[in-house]
């Protein structure tokens, strides 16, 4: 981790052996490390503000890892990485939407933890940690990201976001979208897919965050979470 990176690391993992090995590895890298074996132990004597990076397991006894992350996020912008053996969408999505910056699936090597910490702390230092928020400004045709970056939109791209915002959580099927946006191509929605593909790339290159458009497989598209219209 760089000189300017985090110095005081907090590991919350009920797997004592792994936690201790990881802690000693990080200490060998010149970092200060506190280790907690449960969420409640961390809450009882850990001071959130005194740490600048958190490595959290999900399946913790007592207070669950997801709740611990929410608690951390409520008070701190420090980097949070989940290190968990759990697979599947539930663990992954719950962890990230609670505000974690990254999800690492065990087995994971120390090098990988270090690399992940490096990437996340880059984001943190750029003021880009935790949950990303998006704001669509129709007047200036701009999509602003909470990390301070923004993407300029063409009229069609603006229309795409406005249409998806109108549809809300459920999203919009491709046929309706293609018809409403007037990008139909002999009855197929390939033009629409191409437009979304380009739009995602544009937003991601401009804001360095994953574009807030979800693909509903075989159906259509929907907006991601934390999307606001000005």
């Amino acid at each position: 981790v760089e000189r300017s990176g985090p110095k005081r690391i907090c590991i919350i993992d009920d797997d004592v052996e792994y936690g201790e090995f990881l802690a000693s590895f990080l200490r060998a890298q010149g970092l200060e490390v506190s280790l907690y074996q449960s969420g409640s132990a961390f809450i009882a004597d850990g001071d959130i503000a005194s740490h600048d990076f958190f490595l959290v397991d999900l399946g913790l006894p007592g207070i669950d890892g997801v709740d611990v992350i929410m608690l951390i996020r409520a008070q701190s912008n420090a980097g949070v990485i989940i290190i968990s053996g759990r697979m599947g969408p539930d663990a992954f999505n719950a962890g990230l939407s609670a505000g974690a910056d990254m999800f690492l699936n065990k087995p994971v090597r120390f090098d990988q933890v270090l690399q992940a910490m490096r990437t996340v702390s880059h984001r943190v230092s750029a003021g880009d940690s935790g949950v990303t928020h998006w704001t669509l400004d129709g007047a200036s045709a701009e999509l602003a990201c909470s990390n301070g970056r923004a993407a300029k939109l063409t009229p069609l791209e603006l229309q795409i976001f406005q249409l998806l915002a109108e549809q809300g959580e459920a999203g919009c099927d491709r046929e309706t979208m293609a018809a409403r946006l007037g990008v139909q191509d002999a009855g197929s929605a390939r033009n629409l897919d191409a437009a979304i593909f380009r739009l995602r790339k544009k937003v991601e290159q401009a804001t360095h965050r994953a574009a807030p458009i979800r693909t509903l497989h075989g159906v259509g598209y929907a907006l991601g979470a934390n999307f606001h219209v000005k």
């Binding site: 797997d15 052996e17 792994y18 090995f21 990881l22 000693s24 590895f25 060998a28 053996g85 697979m87 599947g88 969408p89 992954f92 999505n93 990230l96 999800f103 690492l104 699936n105 065990k106 087995p107 994971v108 090597r109 120390f110 090098d111 990988q112 690399q115 992940a116 990437t119 897919d193 191409a194 593909f197 995602r200 790339k201 991601e204 290159q205 360095h208 994953a210 574009a211 693909t215 497989h217 991601g224």
Partner: protein, 463 residues
């Protein structure tokens, strides 16, 4: 004209008897189109007999028209009945033989006619009808609906025309001899009797056939139900076993992965502490031990993915992920010596793709591991990431120098348990199969090609 009345009456009684039996069974008969039409034909035949009775009494034009029309309808419904595909073959043969016999009798009866025109008409009519019916008999079951309709229509058209012509000739010549010789003799009574007997035979056969079909259907239904219940039971059983096996695999992988993770952590920890020159030998030994543990962990991850996520598609969780970071993390899955052989080539801008990061990590790790295993020791392995704008997605390619040039062409290496050319190399043959399944899950593909002694695997994920 004097008719042989007792015979005619007996015939009518028989006919009525047959009719009663048929009406009684109407509810069953109308369930089969062929029988229903045959029954209509009977009704018209009855009308025809009455009309003919009047016609013989006095050969007037209305009587002739009534007789001609009823004859036409009789033939019409007979042909329709015969042309139905549900008409059983033995049954059709009996019915057709009866009709053919009637026609033949008619011809012999007509042979005694003095009027040559009527005689010729009858002969032509009878023989052509017999021919058409023969064609029907031979082909109706196999003919298309259109073919059957065409044959039936031509038979009808001809039958109608012939009856009209014969009737017209009879009226014009007022040839009373026709009636006298045909119906006032034993021939006429035997003809009617034969018709009635044929009818009874028909009804009996129809009844038999219906019964048989019904009991067969009932038997089949019972057998089908039994078979289905057996199959369901078997399926339940195999589902239960599969669920149990999946459970075992999950427990196994979880129980084993955790200590492996810790063992690996311990080895890494020792490895970082042994930096002194005299520790070099131990470091190498530890690195080897760790490589073994890593291989076991990879194999377990693959097994877990195969057993759970790929089988239960709902576990699939595609999200927008930075795949450059992913590639970086995957390269860190390998030990230092292996990592030194990896060269990543990609554009510097952030690249995101909609994918399941856990699955994509496993897919890429499998490809890289495959490349490391099948290339000469120390040879570089190039990992490329590129956008594919034409297909709207991202391509990951892994390229290595081939250790063994004798690549087995035509072998689908993406199949389960099929391995590359080097039979001495370790591996379960699971990796490429899992990778290709992961590609399919992402609506992508995986391909491999050979170029100047190098092997290139390309994994495409649609975005």
């Amino acid at each position: 004209v004097s008719l042989h009345l007792p015979t005619l009456l007996t015939a009518h009684v028989w006919m009525l008897f047959a009719l009663t039996v048929m009406v009684g069974m109407l509810w069953r008969i109308i369930r089969k189109p062929s029988l229903k039409n045959w029954f209509y034909s009977d009704l018209w035949a009855l009308i025809g007999i009455v009309a003919f009775y009047f016609f013989i009494d006095e050969p007037t034009r209305p009587a002739m028209i009534a007789f001609a029309l009823s004859t036409w309808f009789t033939i019409y419904f007979r042909v329709i009945a015969l042309s139905q595909p549900d008409f059983a073959r033995p049954f059709r043969r009996v019915a057709l033989s009866a009709i053919a016999a009637l026609f033949a009798l008619n011809v012999f009866a007509d042979a005694s006619l003095a009027n040559l025109r009527t005689f010729c008409n009858s002969i032509v009519f009878a023989s052509l009808c017999a021919c058409l019916l023969y064609v029907l008999m031979r082909s109706s079951a196999r003919q298309s609906r259109f073919g059957r309709s065409l044959i039936a229509a031509s038979a009808l058209a001809y039958g109608f025309a012939a009856v009209l012509r014969a009737g017209h000739a009879l009226v014009a010549d007022a040839n009373v001899l026709f009636a006298a010789t045909t119906f006032n003799t034993l021939t006429s009574s035997s003809m009617i009797l034969l018709g009635v007997l044929a009818h009874i035979g028909f009804v009996v056969i129809a009844f038999d056939e219906l019964n048989q079909a019904e009991s067969e259907a009932a038997q089949t239904a019972i057998r089908e139900a039994e078979r289905r219940s057996h199959a369901e039971e078997r399926e339940r059983e195999s589902n239960r076993v599969a669920e149990e096996q999946k459970g075992f695999i999950e427990v196994l992988t979880h129980e084993v992965r955790q200590p492996l993770n810790n063992a690996s952590a311990a080895l890494q920890s020792i490895g970082t502490q042994l930096v002194a020159p005299d520790g070099a030998a131990q470091t190498a030994a530890i690195a080897r031990a760790q490589a073994v543990i890593d291989k076991v962990a990879t194999a377990l991850s693959n097994a877990l993915v195969a057993a759970t996520i790929l089988e239960r598609r709902q576990q699939f969780n595609p999200v927008r992920c930075d795949h450059m970071l992913l590639v970086e993390m995957v390269t860190l899955d390998f030990n230092v010596a292996e990592r030194a052989r990896l060269e990543t080539q990609a554009q510097n801008a952030p690249l995101y793709v909609t994918a399941d990061p856990i699955l994509l990590r496993i897919a890429l790790r499998n490809l890289i591991e495959n490349a490391l295993r099948y290339s000469p020791p120390g040879a570089p392995v190039i990992v490329r990431v590129a956008e594919n704008d034409a297909d709207m997605g991202v391509e990951f390619s892994v390229e290595n120098v081939e250790k063994n040039a004798a690549w087995i062409e035509g072998v689908d290496i993406f199949e389960r348990r099929v391995r590359g050319p080097d039979v001495n190399a370790s591996g379960s043959g699971m990796g490429l199969y899992i990778t290709s399944e992961i590609a399919k899950l992402h609506q992508g593909w995986i391909r491999t090609r050979h170029e100047d002694g190098r092997r290139i695997f390309t994994l495409f994920l649609a975005d």
